[in-house]
Symmetry: C2
Subunit: 413 residues, 2 copies
């Protein structure tokens, strides 16, 4: 018997019509013989409605009570979906996080799952029932309701799949898979049939908002096969696993980009040991997260130091840096919040030289000046002026031939 | 230390403004030194919104899933109220029925409370917290969410007051107490300061929709002092206890009326043993509830048999009765759904003769023909034509001098 965990997000179940459509889909899969556990989010709009109510009751509400409030969103959906399934002669039973029971730590609004009791679920599956579980929520040891934070339903689904040793965890969403890049920027972008957890993590953290990073980490840790697919259309979606099942591994899987960053540079800092941490400490103390960091040797025993922060933190970080610069006797501080980070991602990169050179040439051919470079084992990120964003993404997508399947590309060459 | 259980219904907390007003009221009571446990319903409109969603998912939903769905209504309110209290520097903690834990039987949508665990609540009260509990809901032994049925929040409040040995259970509502009759019919109707459980039960079951019957029965069984008062205005409300604390017991406490009934009569039935149950069985089998029943001896060893049902069941009951009549060889069947039942209620009646005579004279003085009469220890009910409803209520209200306090009435006489 194949056991599949389905997960449907807020858009997929945003109305009664959508809930009924999802019930049709599940009932059909059940008829095909799968054992099915379904994880659902709150109906889209519901969480924002509840947040607005909370804000009017108390602009600074206790996290414990926020969790009591927000967890009702998924509870409504599990009941409605179980009802809709029953109407299709598909026996179903709903469970809140507490009922499963999904034990978490006590960090309200961003709790972490500690353990899952799969007894009830196994019993229901044995009796031929579809089990419908509220995503995003659990209980702590004292029985307090907790939530896992936004996007936590993905994590619930993966954690349940791991606990139940499910054959696959299927994340149904409003896109039909993971693409080589954003199709709104590159119309030739192609859906990937396969990719690895590592690649997905880079894609997710770099701005491709398909899956929550935490759920991919979780899937990777417990080796849960993860499939991203559309809840609106038929299709195989994208299967994400540890071992790439492709015979011909593609060099590059995709191009990600992120417009939310800003760049800051401090020039002519005395090049002394500890200078980097000295500069970053002042930023970190203000709870500003730093992404890329680059240090170059300058002239006259000084150094130039550049880093990127979220664009919302730009003004604050610039003020901090200017203060620090005068302390350190640096020559100059400058910054730019009109930048974009573009990344070339692929596990194939590990075993192929020359990817960086190919990427840089593609950008240079279009006259795009690279402002920063940062690399890891499976990615190359460059910072360029924001106005070049689409051009850079298209140039890289085309340079690596991403619009065609790798096998075809090999045959053609 | 005085421990008070407050209960606020849907209208009292129908908006964020109302929730904030209720929080003000509770914070003030807390400052006065009371220990407070608050029971709340769903915000008005919420239950109907959820019912509409359920209907679209499945016109015949499973009671278990209905309870999962509907119980979210109160869960939203407890969180919002706890937040609003915290904003007023009044520490508070919310509990769902399952968290308290309120153990019920497994009769979904109309479960009965079996036991209440007061450990958590006592601990919170000791730490100076207001405890906010979701009304209307509990869990069964298997951890399934149950609900007590409409109006169940009153029952939760009384049951909690009993379990915690509270000094009083205060039911806040949109009226400022129990009146001698409906003030919309008799402008001189007077709020009662005191009444007994027995009187309240008669008032509630006869159409004065202030309190749920079950909660009054519960209060009576566990001797919980119950106070009905306004959540919108200040005032002492009406205190309901077992022993009437009034020195001068009034003869009559109030006049109730019910426009929801219809009357059916079968005439000229052979007067044989078992004939009454024979006739009523056919009605009961169709799940039609019967209220008043009257049998009179007729002519020629036949009998006339009259009973009342809910007006919605009138057509169905009439058809059943006509079929039965021909079986039994009865002379005639007739009915009337333009009737009203008017009741005179008061514990004082027990020790005073002549109340019935006074009531009948008051009606007769107004030319109102009495169609049926039924009496109990503390009430006299009459059925009259619907058109006389207001006139009958006013005549009785005035005949028993209900517009003035009994003490004054005694002094005047």
């Amino acid at each position: 018997m194949t056991l599949i965990v389905h997960k449907y997000g807020g858009t997929s179940i945003g109305s009664i019509e959508r809930i009924n459509a999802v019930a049709d889909k599940i009932a059909k899969a059940k008829q095909c013989g799968d054992d099915i556990v379904v994880v659902v989010s709150a109906m889209s709009g519901e969480t924002n409605r509840l947040l607005a109510l909370a804000k009017d009751a108390n602009p600074n509400p206790s996290p414990r009570e926020m969790d009591v409030l927000l967890s009702t969103g998924e509870q409504v959906t599990i009941a409605l979906l179980a009802m809709a399934l029953a109407k299709r002669r598909c026996p179903a039973r709903s469970y809140t996080g507490g009922q499963v029971h999904i034990l978490t730590d006590s960090t309200h609004t961003k709790a972490r799952i500690v353990a899952i009791d799969d007894k009830n679920i196994h019993q229901d599956l044995k009796q031929g029932r579809v089990v419908v579980v509220a995503g995003f929520q659990g209980v702590d040891e004292s029985g307090n309701i907790t939530t896992l934070g936004r996007g936590g339903s993905d994590t619930t689904a993966v954690a349940l799949a791991a606990a139940l040793h499910a054959d696959e965890c299927q994340i149904y969403t409003d896109v039909d898979g993971v693409y080589t890049t954003d199709p709104r920027v590159v119309p030739e972008a192609r859906r990937l049939d396969f990719m690895t957890y590592e690649e997905m993590l880079e894609m997710a953290s770099l701005g491709a908002k398909v899956l929550q990073i935490r759920s991919v980490e979780f899937a990777s840790k417990y080796q849960v096969p993860l499939r991203v697919l559309s809840s609106f259309e038929h299709g195989q979606g994208t299967l994400i696993t540890a071992e790439d099942e492709r015979v011909e591994k593609p060099l590059i899987s995709g191009i990600a980009f992120n417009r939310d960053e800003a760049k800051l540079t401090i020039l002519g800092v005395p090049d002394l040991p500890g200078i980097a941490s000295n500069i970053l400490a002042v930023v970190a103390e203000s709870n500003i997260e730093v992404d890329m960091i680059i240090q170059n040797v300058g002239q006259d025993a000084t150094t130039d130091f550049t880093f990127t922060v979220h664009r919302n933190d730009y003004d604050k970080a610039l003020a901090l840096l200017q203060k620090k610069a005068s302390e350190l006797g640096a020559r100059e501080v400058n910054g730019d919040n009109k930048i974009v980070k573009v990344s070339v991602i692929g596990v194939g990169m590990k075993s192929h030289a020359g990817v960086a050179a190919m990427a840089f040439k593609a950008l240079s051919d279009e006259g795009i000046n690279i402002r920063m470079i940062s690399t890891s084992e499976i990615k190359i990120s460059v910072v360029v002026d924001e106005k070049y964003c689409e051009l850079a993404v298209r140039a890289l997508h085309s340079a690596f031939n991403l619009e065609v399947e790798v096998q075809e590309a090999v045959r053609e060459s």
